[in-house]
Subunit: 88 residues, 2 copies
């Protein structure tokens, strides 16, 4: 799967690892970071967002949410894309 | 867990069952139906939305998405709330 700039694809690692990855991108100057979860990792993507929200509070907000499905290995998988926006 | 009017809580049943439940509510006159998924059922809630979108096409749209966490049995669980809106 293509990884776009400022997109964190949630997969095998811990929730904490992905949350830290997003926070690092924000600290490095990114205004927005997309958290992507596919298939069974959709729930984990939401966990990652909640952990970031816990840590940064009003410093971030949920910008937009996209939902859809994509094909992988001939199977149709749902995905979610959570856009985290920095708030000043 | 409280079940509000026009809210379908995704849990043990098949994706098809929940999709049918939402479509039935829309056919009975509901303008909006919330699909709720908690914890490991978050991904299934997204599957339900995608199936409804497949079946009804431009007849429905994703109104809004809420994300958060709630306590259950002293554990913190993420949830997602997908609002399906009828389009005319």
């Amino acid at each position: 799967m293509d990884k776009k700039p400022n997109e964190v694809l949630v997969s095998m690692k811990n929730v904490e690892d992905y949350a830290l990855e997003v926070i690092t991108l924000l600290n490095q100057g990114a205004q927005e970071v997309d958290i992507k979860g596919v298939g069974r990792d959709i729930g984990k993507a939401v966990d990652v967002f909640n952990m970031i929200k816990d840590k940064l509070g009003n410093g971030v907000e949920l910008g937009s949410v996209s939902i859809g499905s994509e094909s992988r290995d001939k199977k149709r998988l749902s995905f979610i894309l959570l856009r985290v926006k920095k708030v000043y």
